[in-house]
Assembly symmetry: C2
């Protein structure tokens, strides 16, 4: 059976396009607050996996011994826009751990978010690996390897200890065991597939790590705090994660991923949210996540966030000719405004 429609895009009097998908909102004990669609088929969490990919580094103690801080942790969780605030920090971090751009396994890619690409062309700069939106994640992998005193060569390969630590951590948080199916992410690192609901449960344990051993719980709390404290580093100017984390005002951290996935961590309610748009559209994932956070009464009246909940479709003369909005599956969902953690 097809997944339900989560987002609609209108033009004039008609719905022009629709986006189907699945959503799971889980608690750390594995129970579900809400779900829609097929939540059992494995999905690649793509960049929504980054907070978990950062966990081995933070748990290792590398942050303390190498003199790093919340900014670097936020960048390890980031799909950043390659703005100077991102690239200067990643470059300094690489120097701090005795590495350079050459050590990054991610390829360079053009920065998409203006005015960065225009400024780069104007000044004759070409994108480097540091501009890759995942350069913070990769620098985090290098940091863990450095701290463990092992080779950084091939740190992006499935059988390197850093990636084995990521896979093990993901399995533990998701309550799974065994080898997960995997594919190569856009940045050349392995990405692991798991049922949407299992990933939502892993995210819920980031929201509510109380039942875990102290070092892991502390590392998780530090990661979530770093994301919430540095929304501009997690994505960038006008990007959805930056907008949503700011709008949630300390109450949630979000992390988008390619191909229409979106995760959110809601510590005060101990909730992990995960959604996947079937067709991979980022525009729909943004609007679906914004609508869910709004349903949970987390967004408030932040104008930038409200424009994700109901996004005007503009033409080239900046006239509004339609809108992108959550469909009834989400707007009519029986989700209470932020249930307290005690209710779980």
């Amino acid at each position: 059976m097809a997944n339900p429609i989560l987002v609609e895009v209108t033009r004039g009097p008609l719905v022009e396009s629709v986006h189907r998908g699945a959503v799971a909102i889980a608690r750390a004990d594995g129970s579900l607050l809400f779900s829609a669609g097929d939540i059992e088929t494995p999905v690649f969490p793509r960049s929504s996996l980054k907070p978990i990919q950062a966990l081995p580094m933070v748990e290792s103690g590398a942050v303390e011994t190498l003199g790093l801080g919340d900014e670097e942790i936020a960048l390890a969780c980031a799909s950043h826009s390659g703005e100077p605030m991102h690239t200067s920090r990643v470059a300094a971090w690489l120097r701090k751990i005795g590495c350079s751009e050459e050590d990054l396994a991610c390829g360079p890619h053009a920065v998409r978010y203006e005015p960065v690409p225009t400024e780069m062309v104007r000044h004759g700069y070409r994108p480097t690996r540091i501009h890759n939106n995942c350069s913070g994640k990769h620098t985090g992998f290098l940091t863990a390897a450095r701290h463990w005193g092992i080779t950084t060569d091939g740190y992006e390969r499935l059988r390197h200890p850093v990636q084995e630590a990521v896979a093990k951590t993901l399995n533990q948080l998701a309550g799974l065991s065994g080898d997960l199916p995997w594919g190569v992410d856009g940045c050349a690192a392995p990405n692991f597939a798991l049922p949407l609901v299992a990933f939502a449960r892993a995210v819920a344990r980031l929201a509510d790590p109380a039942s875990m051993a102290q070092p892991r719980a502390n590392a998780i709390n530090r990661i979530v705090r770093a994301m919430i404290s540095h929304p501009e580093l997690v994505a960038g100017t006008d990007r959805s994660d930056t907008v949503l984390i700011r709008a949630c005002n300390g109450r949630a951290a979000t992390k988008a991923g390619a191909e229409g996935v979106y995760a959110a961590i809601v510590p005060e309610a101990g909730l992990g949210i995960m959604l996947k748009i079937d067709d991979g559209a980022g525009r729909a994932a943004e609007t679906a996540m914004a609508a869910i956070l709004d349903k949970l009464a987390l967004l408030g009246n932040d104008p930038a966030a409200r424009k994700l909940v109901r996004a005007p479709v503009l033409n080239t003369r900046s006239a509004t000719v339609g809108e992108r909005r959550a469909a009834a599956t989400l707007t009519g969902a029986e989700i209470e405004a932020l249930p307290s953690r005690a209710m779980a």
Copy 2:
């Protein structure tokens, strides 16, 4: 009921994203060679409407009296990339009809296709309305108004004679009557919605206009010939229409539109093809259309076209990490390799 999956995108061992949609392949007599999904719901043909939007101009005789040719007709049907070959011709055409960029109702938009935007920044140029991918269509509208000796002011409004002529022509070709639902397109011109199957029938009458009065049939044949003769003007370097028209080697003209629509005109078989991807994804529309043309044995071994039929998904290091391909609804469809027109 949900439309069938037309295109799949894989990563590693899994299908990561899917695109649903509907397809109709019609003959000029209205009969169907093939259909999949819901073909009755109205869709906006968006830029796939351009060959029909160009018809009033060509039918009017303006091409002859104003000294225009196949290049201008191809540009009237184009969603061009704003390359110098496009913008220089549109600018010259505007001068020829005594108009200027100021007369175009479409807004400027950034050119997306490299190296155009990089070259523009390097030379300090800003996008103008002539760079709008629809500037040829708009210049065609202005040309019709000039030829008719009526005001060009407000030529983009629903009640201007040029747009009324477009709506009437579309109704006639589609075998419909009455006011069609409409919305404002990205370029500020009206776009009319009609059932997918009705639009496929209209496209079939572009492929096989024999039953129509001579002036219209001649104008249609000229438009199709212009598109086939100038594939580089219909889209641009490495764009799907340019690739597909070239690969079809004179046997078909194609026209993509925003929000995942794609039309094709196949004169030798008298077929009109129209498809709409539910979620609006251009990547899926390209691959679905390429797969259908391949099924009709029109594509041959053209390498660029084959890369649309099965498109590698690359990461930032240019490694292949998945593929985009047509799903069984299309690959398994019982469509014979190009039925002759006589079979209809």
